[in-house]
């Protein structure tokens, strides 16, 4: 390998991954044939689970290494194109793969904040960070902060922030792994978590970044194939055209038309009125629960007694009245819970949300707040993208500054492929639901609806509220994840494609979890242990420590996940605001402003992170303070206050204190130019 040139290496990679992709498609076809011959879904699920994890294990073992540079930065020989794919897989998490299209289905235009935010951030990575970090050429992001600003304080804050954002994020990934594994194989959630953990460790344990890189490329191939097949099929089914991204405008126009019709449809209004009345009655009862409970109970008892006395009552009516008495909430607290739930039905009393309308709201002020939040969220997601250490770290692995620049382009290209498909999928699924599910008979529901409603009512719940035997839109509740999971069935594809989608989701979750775990373990082993505690440690010892920490962090993350902490989605969103407020100003000013110094960086990072955490603590309901929002900004976009706080503090404090010394000035010049003749090459 050592004598091989970079060009030969690139060629070889292309050959390997082409063969691999062909092999994977062949595997899917084989299973499809096996399904036709009678292989049961359960075994198809197992086949995908074990084949893909086995594959990652093989790549992981083949990439084992005892070299520090290979372990931390894949030997810095990952070509731009492949680094792009690896970054794509690293970036796209279980939430992107499974949740995003569903989020767009539910939120319509406003959900596009995630689409724009999670792609446009790469522009910032490209022009502000990637080429300069590559030229700097060390191992981690706290490494850059430590060298640029000098001293262990900045490095320590960097390590703390890196662990804070990566850990919340990795818990969400492992949660996703557990969910997918348990759903498609019938294993318990906790078992699924540990199977997933094994999957993560086989990728990274022996080969660090080198192994993670090559498995991420493999995982990208699987996840993009899995995402595309059902959408393309759905597009062919409705529009006889295999490029859904080009034609879903027509579907959107039809969906909009149908929304208008459904808004004024009398049957729809009937269902919505039922919900409205139930919510209003629950609300009234909640005002004086004790009296309402007594009154309801008396009414139920009276009714049962009346029916029994009534000679003309049918036996069914008697049974029903008795049953409703037996099911009557046994105490006030239980009744209260049921009313709280009924009160929530008010949300279902609203007409369908227009899919393409931007920032709907009841009045001008509400619309403007929605718009402000939309833009603030985009900014936080973008700046956060350009500050998440597990992504930035990937640009240390290219052979040169030139390739680092190209590589950001490829990264965004590969991410774009999925992200511009998700809105198409959401619209096509909505088209299907609005035109075919709505208006069908309850006695004759499409198979996918019946199947999924049985599996998990949080994913899909459907009930004949007004008793007319026909499905109204207001009678359907779809969970966010159902859209991607059920698309193969909506499109009428065989089970093997459903299992493929699950394998894709698993690949997305595993690849992101790999990158994150490695980031955390490396921050601890490289920055804390090697740079701060024992700078004379031998290579062998450094690697042993790195691998040991990886194992420990992975087990802790899996343990936390198996406790099923709530509000995971909030935590993921929070990670972006936290990263944006802590890292972004220090990294970018560190490169573009020579005057920025150590004290500026320390106070700026603390101020940014502090403001962001303070606002989240004060406003997010989970913490119980529930202070009023500033300018109506939601807690997930706390970075909108944290970023400027960080930048301003950094500038003011830097100007008040001494300029950085000559050595640091030279370091800045060093990173600004890909190659300065006459300077001694730094470690690269």
């Amino acid at each position: 390998m050592a004598t091989q040139t970079q060009a030969q290496f690139g060629q070889q990679l292309k050959k390997y991954y082409s063969v691999y992709t062909g092999g994977f498609i062949g595997f899917v076809i084989l299973l499809a044939i096996a399904e036709q011959m009678g292989m049961t879904p359960k075994y198809i699920g197992y086949a995908f689970l074990f084949a893909t994890i086995g594959l990652y294990a093989v790549i992981g073992i083949m990439s084992r290494t005892a070299d520090v540079s290979e372990y931390y930065v894949a030997g810095r020989r990952v070509p731009a194109f492949f680094n792009g794919m690896a970054t794509g897989a690293d970036w796209m998490s279980a939430a992107s793969f499974i949740g995003m299209a569903g989020g767009l289905y539910i939120q319509g235009y406003d959900g596009l904040a995630f689409i724009m935010g999670w792609t446009g951030g790469y522009v910032l990575v490209a022009v502000f960070l990637a080429p300069y970090l590559r030229k700097f050429g060390q191992f981690t992001i706290p490494d850059f902060l430590g060298e640029r600003y000098g001293g262990n304080i900045v490095r320590s804050i960097g390590v703390f922030a890196a662990i804070l954002c990566s850990f919340t994020y990795v818990v969400a990934q492992i949660y996703g792994v557990g969910l997918i594994t348990s759903r498609f194989t019938g294993l318990e959630f906790q078992v699924g978590v540990f199977v997933g953990l094994a999957g993560i460790l086989v990728c990274s344990f022996l080969g660090g970044m080198k192994a993670v890189t090559w498995t991420q490329v493999a995982q990208y191939v699987i996840l993009i194939i899995a995402y595309m097949i059902p959408v393309v099929w759905l597009s062919v089914k409705h529009f006889n055209f295999p490029v859904p991204q080009l034609v879903y405008g027509q579907a959107l126009a039809k969906v909009t038309e149908r929304e208008k019709a459904l808004t004024v449809d009398p049957k729809e209004i009937e269902v919505r009125t039922i919900f409205k009345d139930r919510a209003a009655s629950a609300d009234a009862k909640l005002k004086d629960p004790a009296a309402a409970y007594a009154a309801d109970k008396a009414a139920a008892e009276k009714k049962a007694a009346d029916v029994k006395r009534d000679k003309k009552a049918t036996p069914e009516a008697v049974a029903a009245a008795e049953k409703s008495l037996a099911n009557f909430p046994k105490d006030e607290a239980t009744a209260k819970k049921a009313w709280e739930k009924d009160k929530g039905l008010a949300a279902r009393a609203a007409p369908p949300r227009p899919h393409a309308e931007a920032f709907p709201g009841k009045d001008e002020a509400a619309k403007n707040t929605a718009r402000l939040n939309f833009l603030a969220l985009i900014l936080c997601l973008m700046v956060g993208t350009a500050a998440l250490p597990h992504i930035l770290m990937r640009y240390y692995t290219t052979p040169s500054v030139k390739e680092a620049r190209d590589s950001v382009g490829w990264s965004l290209f590969f991410i774009f492929l999925l992200y511009f498909t998700a809105p198409a999928l959401a619209v096509l699924a909505k088209y299907d639901v609005y035109h075919f599910l709505v208006g069908s008979e309850f006695a004759n529901l499409p198979a996918w609806v019946a199947n999924w409603a049985k599996v998990d009512p949080t994913l899909l719940a459907i009930a004949d509220i007004n008793g007319d035997g026909i499905v109204q839109l207001a009678e359907i509740v779809l969970g966010q994840d159902i859209i991607v999971l059920a698309t193969p069935e909506i499109a009428g594809l065989p089970y093997v494609i459903s299992a493929l989608v699950a394998a894709g989701g698993l690949a997305a979750a595993l690849s992101t979890a790999d990158g994150l775990l490695l980031t955390i373990a490396n921050a601890l082993s490289h920055d804390v242990y090697y740079k701060m505690l024992d700078p004379h440690a031998s290579t062998k010892r450094r690697l042993a420590i790195a691998k040991g920490l990886l194992l420990v962090v992975a087990v802790i993350a899996a343990f936390v996940t198996s406790l099923k902490p709530g509000d995971i989605l909030f935590l993921v969103g929070a990670a972006f605001s936290l990263a944006a407020s802590s890292f972004f100003p220090a990294l970018v000013l560190g490169i573009f402003w020579k005057r920025c110094n150590k004290w500026g960086a320390i106070t700026g990072m603390v101020a940014g992170l502090g403001t962001c955490m303070y606002y989240m603590y004060m406003t997010y309901p989970f913490f119980g303070v529930k202070a009023p929002l500033w300018f109506g900004i939601n807690p997930i976009s706390a970075g909108i206050f944290g970023i400027p706080a960080g930048i301003i503090t950094m500038v003011v404090v830097s100007l008040l204190t001494k300029a950085p010394d000559k050595k640091i000035q030279e370091l800045i010049e060093h990173v600004r130019y890909p190659h300065l003749k006459g300077t001694a090459a730094r470690a690269s």
């Binding site: 522009v123 490209a126 931007a358 985009i378 030139k402 620049r405 992200y419």
Partner: protein, 87 residues
Amino acid sequence: MQLTERHREYWRKNVRLTAILLAIWFVVTFVVGFYARELNTVTMFGWPMGFYMGAQGSLIIYVVIIFYYARYMNKLDIEYGVAEEDK
């Protein structure tokens, strides 16, 4: 090492390009987002324009910005003699 005037010029050009590209990025993200409701009154091939930009148009421009930056800078490196030597 002392930077020459040519080195400084290279950096100025880089900063200027960075500023221009960020201005484009800002417009297609925040200005287009701000006026999404107004843009939505125009419809093309079924897409209201505000929706189309958020779902596809702006994304394409992001990809183009990044590849353009890479190409321009890689050429600038050679022009100003700061390109890396082939390994």
